[in-house]
């Protein structure tokens, strides 16, 4: 297990390093220099050098990555070319917003998907089973921005019960915070729930048909206990993968939802930065998002063996 974890860890670091070098190469993807674009064509060599030095530009990707890592150790992720503010501070404001969005949606999605999937697998072909399958299919066919627009139209325009867009910090107005959270969270949670529902429903079907489940049932075990204590763990492998990958991608995946609902999180931050060619912001966020993804993949890989020890046995023999 330790050997396996170490090997995977080294590989993950390698992947991250490659991504970091690629991210540091973004200014080279466009002709022209950011310094000339910002300072104008009459800029002196000294001015250009000072500009490049301040924003960590101009050098080759490896040197720039080295400078970036040096800053990282000191808690400095560079300076935004557009706003001239420290990227570290801007991220510290936006990261909690996105994290809240992601974690609350995940919780809601699981609260919807788990009981419905298990109940549906318990009675295949029942009304609940058929309705949930059709709903999952419809939700899976809707991209985030389509589902979001429908929700906004229904709840903000027709029923007028929820705000269409905007974000209120919890410290300012807890109730307003909650009402502004409902639509974006619903948009994300419904799409996720559909994915989880399908994965869990498919696997639970197989697990419920195994001998030990029939035996437990014959002994008189209550369905709820049977489903949660016996069937959930073996059926949850793909679910763990999906949840893990989803958490890894989520920081980048909130991009559409954050833009649609005007939420000041990571996704909107980085998409604005791309439009403005704000290289220090693009680079730092890309590396951070990739680090989240790589870590999530690694944890998923390792958790497999904890959930199902048989996998480690097969790998060894």
């Amino acid at each position: 297990m330790i050997h396996f974890a170490a090997r995977r860890g080294v590989r993950a670091l390698g992947v991250l390093l490659l991504v970091a070098v690629l991210a540091m190469s973004t200014p080279m993807m466009l002709p022209g220099s950011p310094a000339l674009a910002a300072l104008g064509l009459e800029a002196t060599d000294e001015e250009i050098a000072a500009f490049n030095d301040k924003y960590n530009l101009g050098a080759d990707p490896f040197t720039r990555l080295w400078n970036w890592l040096d800053g990282l150790v000191h808690g400095d992720l560079g300076t935004s070319i557009i706003t001239d503010a420290a990227v570290t501070g801007q991220l510290a404001e936006r990261l909690p917003v996105t994290l809240e969005l992601v974690l609350v949606s995940l919780a809601v999605a699981l609260v919807i998907a788990l009981p419905v999937a298990l109940r549906a697998a318990w009675r295949p072909g029942s009304v609940l089973d058929r309705v949930s399958q059709v709903l999952a299919f419809v939700l899976l066919s809707m991209p985030g921005f389509v589902l979001g627009m429908l929700l906004i139209y229904l709840f903000a325009v027709v029923l007028r019960v929820l705000p269409a867009t905007g974000w209120v910090p919890f410290s300012e107005d807890p109730l307003g915070h909650l009402t502004h959270l409902i639509l974006p969270v619903t948009t994300m949670a419904l799409a996720e729930a559909a994915v989880y529902l399908r994965a869990l429903r498919a696997d639970a079907d197989e697990v419920l048909d195994s001998t030990y489940i029939h035996a437990a049932q014959a002994r008189g075990m209550k369905p709820a206990r049977l489903l949660l204590a016996r069937a959930l763990r073996p059926a949850s492998l793909p679910l763990v993968t999906l949840v893990g990958l989803n958490l890894g991608m989520a920081l980048g995946g909130t991009l559409v939802v954050e833009t649609m609902y005007a939420i000041p999180g990571m996704g909107r931050y980085v998409s604005t930065a791309i439009g403005q060619r704000d290289y220090p912001v693009i680079e730092s966020t890309t590396i951070i998002l990739a680090a989240a993804m790589v870590t999530a993949t690694l944890l998923v890989d390792l958790s497999y063996r904890l959930i199902d020890p048989r996998i480690a046995h097969v790998a060894r023999s």
Binding site: R11, G14, V15, L16, L18, V19, L22, T26, M29, L30, G125, F137, V138, L140, S141, M142, P143, G144, F145, V146, M149, L150, I152, Y153, V157, A164, M249, L251, G252, G253, L255, V256, T259, M260, V270, S271, I274, G275, I282, T286, L289, A290, M293, V294, T297
Partner: protein, 286 residues
């Protein structure tokens, strides 16, 4: 006797359930195919005739409700939303086709190479794929398209390039198993040239999975293009694309919801139709 009768009833019920599901499947496939055919015909009409002009503006008839003359109403500039939706379908489908070609060809080459030759090549390819998948796809698409300038070809090839890892994974796993089959081992033993084995044995084995996955990839491409346009990084303003029209209609959601809802529902229906037909293809080929 009662036991036998009961068992018989059960069998009959099961047979009826299967038949009902088959009928439902057939009906769903028919509706799905019908929708795509209607879309294709309308696209042809829009290309070949001036009947459906997505750019024609008439400011005296802005934000008209859906009617016989304008089935989906008109937008804030007095353009026909139906014509724009049809033109948007055309752009979505062209992007999807370019994506498919780039992703399937690139992914098959890379995946088959990794799965068939294994060893160091497989490791290097796996490492590169991990690196691509580590960056959020939409972020990467926006960056590349924004830097290359948004055109149908740049959007299509960029999404296609990012589709390569998924295609490579599908084809690699099949190439791995094909390699172990007896007829391939025999071919290797009698010194059959490797390209011939790849074309005659590996490619036919990979093809069914490729076809099944192509439908999923197509819907992913349509969604990616829509998200890109919705965020404002897709085709530039007057050009009609589903994501773009939906975003344009946002400001008028209270006064003219049809501008947003029509393309949104068309997009969802198209994704559903392609998925439905894809599931049939998957059943047939597996």
């Amino acid at each position: 006797m009662s036991l036998a009768a009961e068992a018989g009833r059960d069998v009959h019920a099961a047979v009826r359930a299967t038949r009902r599901r088959r009928r439902l499947d057939t009906a769903a496939t028919t509706v799905a195919a019908g929708w795509l055919i209607v879309l294709a015909v309308l696209t042809l009409v829009s290309i070949a005739t001036p009947l459906l002009d997505p750019y024609f503006q008439d400011f005296t008839s802005a934000k008209l409700e859906p009617s016989l003359a304008h089935p989906f109403g008109t937008d804030g500039n007095g353009r026909d939303v139906f014509a724009r939706t049809v033109a948007g379908a055309q752009n979505s489908l062209v992007v999807a086709v370019i994506t498919l070609v780039v992703g399937a060809v690139g992914g098959t080459l890379i995946g088959v190479a990794a799965g068939y030759f294994r060893g160091a090549l497989d490791n290097v390819i796996g490492f590169l794929i991990d690196a691509v998948l580590a960056i959020p796809a939409l972020l990467l698409i926006i960056t590349i398209v924004s830097f290359r300038g948004p055109s149908i070809t740049s959007i299509g090839t960029t999404i296609g390039l990012l589709m390569i890892p998924a295609f490579a994974r599908v084809t690699r796993s099949i190439a791995l198993t094909v390699r172990e089959r007896d007829y391939v081992k025999a071919a290797v033993l009698i010194d059959t040239p490797t390209p011939r084995i790849l074309v005659k044995a590996v490619l036919p084995a990979v093809a069914p999975a490729l076809v099944s996955y192509a439908f999923t990839a197509m819907t992913a491409a349509i969604v990616a293009e829509g998200s890109l346009s919705f965020l404002g990084y897709g085709l530039a303003a007057p050009a009609p694309s589903w994501g773009g029209i939906i975003a344009e209609g946002r400001a008028d959601l209270a006064t003219a919801p049809w501008i947003t809802l029509a393309p949104a529902l068309a997009l969802a229906a198209t994704v559903m139709a392609i998925t439905t037909i894809g599931e049939r293809a998957k059943e047939r080929y597996s």
